[in-house]
């Protein structure tokens, strides 16, 4: 349904914010799923950090490069980063109402989350494999 005399306008402009795209609750649902996963994962993370308190670099390196701690870290990082990205998205959508600023803030949120998440994952993998 495209206006012939206004060819630059896509259908997107017409439908944006006007109705259901049938994916409206996925963010809410993924937030619940990641928070459920983070209950055991964050407890495991705290215990893992406690096991490294006051240890030398060699001990910390050895601990983090073992399969089970490394897997725990990867799961914790993955769930946390996705969870926090969704949470910050909600906050931005609640408080930033100017369209342009909102889009930039959402983009910055995504870039930050991906960058921090990949830094953590890369470091854990490097500890295991390098």
């Amino acid at each position: 349904m495209r206006d012939i005399d206004d060819g630059m306008r896509s259908d997107l402009r017409r439908v944006r914010y006007l109705g259901s795209a049938h994916s409206g609750t996925s963010g809410m649902w993924h937030m619940r799923l990641t928070s459920l996963a983070l209950i055991p994962l964050s407890i495991g993370f705290v215990l893992l950090v406690l096991s490294m308190v006051g240890r030398s670099y060699g001990d910390v390196h050895a601990t983090l490069s073992q399969p089970f701690p490394a897997l725990l870290m990867l799961l914790f990082i993955g769930a946390s980063i996705y969870h926090m990205q969704l949470g910050m998205r909600t906050i931005i959508e609640d408080y930033v109402h100017m369209e342009l600023w909102k889009d930039w803030a959402l983009a910055a949120n995504l870039f930050f989350s991906v960058a921090v998440g990949l830094a953590c994952i890369y470091a854990v993998l490097r500890l295991s494999f390098a």
Binding site: S42, V46, Y57, I81
Partner: protein, 136 residues
């Protein structure tokens, strides 16, 4: 026929949805606000985790620098706050999960749940730091 307001008339004052400034602070509201604030703090705090992991993955010298910062007084204060934010947000999430499933929303229960998650977050933080203190 009723007279319609002309478009250049000053806009009539319409009732606004009440917001934070008109409410007396109550515990459930304060807990809701701190849930969001601790979430933002944890968001920023992932930079510390990334730094710690990247330093450990780089070499002993980078790790020593990160360890020095985390062991400084300011570093310890930040990590203590991070620990509290994590437990507060964790227990707040459990509380919200209960409310999501329709449990504990009535008068005594919701207050009790809020007090329990507030006290529990502080207690777990102190417990973890007590253990860390004896381990170091």
């Amino acid at each position: 026929m009723p007279e319609l307001p002309s478009s250049d008339a000053p806009p009539r004052k319409r009732p606004l949805s009440p917001h934070l400034q008109v409410y007396r602070p109550v515990l459930t509201m304060v807990m809701s606000i701190t849930h969001r604030i601790t979430g933002i703090a944890l968001y920023a705090g992932t930079l510390l985790l990334a730094w710690f992991l990247m330093a450990a993955a780089t070499d002993a010298r980078s790790f020593a620098t990160a360890a020095w910062v985390f062991n400084s007084i300011l570093g310890q204060v930040v990590l203590f706050g991070f620990t509290w934010a994590m437990f507060h947000h964790l227990l707040g999430g459990v509380r919200h999960a209960m409310w999501d499933s329709g449990f504990g929303m009535d008068d005594p229960e919701r207050e009790w749940l809020s007090q329990a998650s507030l006290g529990g977050g502080i207690a777990l933080t102190l417990l973890v730091w007590a253990i860390a203190f004896f381990l170091r």
